[in-house]
């Protein structure tokens, strides 16, 4: 690939990803409203929210939280850039992990019971999904012969037929990261429950906007990782449709179940998610798939 092409894809990724993310969040709210028999906000509502938040007077509860908010945003953008540059997938996920740590530290840096609880729950969420996310890279690498994303492109055939177990495990991860029921334990879409939006409690105005923006990037990045499973071959268009379909299924799941507790989440994620991937790695290692 030429340097120009790479630079171009980076620029596109950095500019387009939040647009897609914001739009998806808007469609998410619209669809959820329709599922509940409501009309719901306009699709571009989240952009209004973001601009409004940027326009509010800053209010802070301590310097560290601001530093970590910036850290969260920049690191996620870096992860997106690394992804666009087709770097090592494991490294992309490590950067994403660092970003997650920043978010938690930002929440933990304020002496507020809600923020603290939210931070700790976010940490437990990371405990639940990080190993799955990292492990999911292994079968991909075993199949394509290496960890860089370039290898997936060069592999020449879609991964999903062989790695659908891993794919299902990644869907669990996506559900946790999107904070949808039954996994919305560290904050909830509507902020009036036991921890008042948890990690976000103490952020306000522009800094809340930064975190929101970072969430959009994160959502798009994870969907893009799901898209990798179809990216090559004649069915490449499925790499756009499949993540969107999965995303839609998660929206429905969000609307048909309650929030469950963190202990259940960790057990479920480790039990089901890790076993799925373990099975997949084993099967690939034994050469059965």
């Amino acid at each position: 690939m030429s340097t120009g092409w790479l630079v171009g894809s980076v620029v596109i990724a950095v500019i387009v990803a939040p647009l897609i993310g914001g739009l998806l969040r808007g469609i998410d709210r619209k669809l959820t409203a329709h599922m509940q028999g409501r009309i719901g906000p306009p699709i571009i509502q989240n952009f209004y929210d973001l601009i409004k938040l940027f326009g509010k007077k800053p209010m802070v509860a301590g310097k560290p939280q601001l530093v970590f908010a910036w850290g969260y945003l920049f690191l996620i953008i870096t992860a997106v850039v690394f992804f666009a540059l087709r770097q090592d997938l494991l490294v992309v996920l490590f950067i994403l992990g660092f970003a997650g740590v920043c978010l938690v530290l930002g929440a933990l840096s304020v002496k507020s019971p809600y923020s603290q609880l939210g931070g700790h729950r976010e940490l437990l969420q990371m405990l639940a999904y990080e190993p799955i996310l990292l492990l999911a890279v292994i079968p991909i690498a075993l199949k394509t012969g290496g960890f860089p994303i370039t290898n997936i492109f060069e592999y020449g055939q879609p991964l999903l037929p062989n790695l659908w177990l891993t794919f299902i495990a990644l869907v669990i991860v996506l559900d946790i990261v999107m904070k949808k029921s039954p996994f919305d334990i560290s904050s909830s879409e509507h902020a009036h429950q036991e921890i008042v939006r948890g990690v976000l409690t103490e952020y306000s105005g522009p800094y809340l906007a930064i975190i929101e923006l970072a969430h959009w990037y994160e959502l798009v990045l994870l969907l893009a990782i799901l898209g990798l499973f179809w990216i090559v071959g004649s069915l490449w268009w499925l790499s756009i449709l499949t993540p969107l379909a999965i995303w839609f299924i998660l929206l429905i799941t969000d609307n048909i179940c309650t929030r469950l507790t963190w202990s259940w989440m960790v057990k479920f994620a480790w039990g089901v998610g890790i076993s799925l991937i373990a099975l997949n790695i084993l099967v690939v290692n034994l050469g059965w798939m």
Partner: protein
């Protein structure tokens, strides 16, 4: 999403609750004192606003207490219509609660469906009483508005719409959904003995297997319509949920029965004079349980004393025995399972 402030000072260890201190007083207005300053007829509107959710039952209980004290015989038609409004407010309160309960578990779409069904009840209320939630129709000596034949037909029609909506959306989910069960079954246990000992009332008591409902005493027109309390024996949050859900259906049946049995006649009698010297206690079943009114007249137009014992107040000790040892995530669920009404508690 509890719309009212109650401050539970929780001590947590990790996410397990080890200590609970309820801190109240945020909504204390001094209504009982104001009840002594107002003329006794105006108190009907004041006690209705002790709580906007079960406001009709407050008014009903107050009116019946005064009527008993003044030995006024209320026309039977008024008693039947009072029953209708009382049950309407029970349905709307239970649905409101079910919605909030679902939301406390993060089940937003169930919340929306509950409140959507509730709007039908509010429309009935608005049509018959002139306001969505605060009916202001019970007065000393009867009621202010009649439900005529045409309106009764409309009410029946709306109630059948309501049943259809409930049968299709809310009930199957609440009865069957595994995630709801996971969050409620076995949470906030209260045994029959404890419930009796701690003086629980209403659906909490009945959820623990005690068949006690003040409607059995037959006030308003309950004697004529007949009444059997609904009981579940498990004593957990799920049992309380089922009690309330079944009561919604039961209330609907009661309204239909009352509308069909309703005799013709006046809807109120004129009450002259002031309450005589003397005391009176009257009880009624609110959506949340038993409410007790104590009044003391002194022959003037002001009461000597107005005292209300509300159901949530009785249910707080059981709540405090349920909470320790639960997870923080279960605190809203368990707290809501007693359907706390802080405005009632603090007045």
């Amino acid at each position: 999403m509890l719309p009212e402030p109650i401050h539970l000072k929780l001590e947590l260890e990790d996410e397990t609750v080890v200590g609970v201190t309820p801190i109240i007083g945020y909504i204390y207005r001094g209504i009982e004192k104001a009840g002594e300053l107002n003329p006794f007829r105006n108190n009907v509107f004041l006690v209705e606003r002790i709580c906007g959710i079960c406001s009709f039952t407050h008014a009903l209980c107050y009116c019946e207490a005064v009527e008993k004290l003044m030995q006024v015989e209320v026309p039977p038609r008024a008693r039947f219509i009072r029953l209708c409004w009382s049950e309407l407010s029970r349905i709307h309160s239970h649905l409101l609660w079910l919605g909030l309960f679902a939301d406390a578990m993060g089940f937003e779409s169930l919340f929306m469906q509950c409140w959507r069904a509730r709007e039908i009840i509010l429309d009935i209320s608005e049509m018959t009483a002139g306001h969505r939630i605060i009916q202001s129709t019970s007065i000393i000596g009867g009621i202010r508005r009649d439900i005529d034949k045409e309106m009764a037909k409309e009410v029946e029609h709306k109630l059948s719409d309501f049943k259809e909506l409930m049968d299709n959306t809310v009930s199957p989910t609440v009865y069957n959904d595994p995630t709801i069960k996971r969050r409620t079954v076995g949470k906030g246990m209260l045994s029959k003995e404890q419930a009796n000992l701690l003086g629980a009332v209403g659906p909490i008591l009945r959820g623990s297997g005690v068949p006690l409902d003040i409607r059995q005493t037959g006030y308003a027109a309950y004697k004529e319509t007949g009444f059997e309390p609904i009981v579940e024996s498990d004593g957990d949050c799920y049992a309380r949920t089922i009690v309330r859900l079944r009561e919604i259906y039961q209330s609907r049946e009661l309204i239909l029965k009352a509308l069909s049995l309703m005799p013709e006649g006046d809807i109120s009698v004129t009450v002259r004079g002031n309450p005589p010297e003397g005391e009176m206690i009257h009880r009624a079943e609110q959506p949340r349980g038993e409410v007790v009114y104590y009044i003391k007249g002194n022959g003037t137009r002001n009461l000597d004393r107005l005292r209300v014992r509300t159901p949530t107040f009785a249910n707080i000790p059981p709540l405090l025995t349920m909470l320790p040892g639960c997870e923080l995530a279960d605190v809203p669920v368990i707290t809501l399972s007693i359907d706390p009404c802080i405005a009632c508690t603090e007045r």
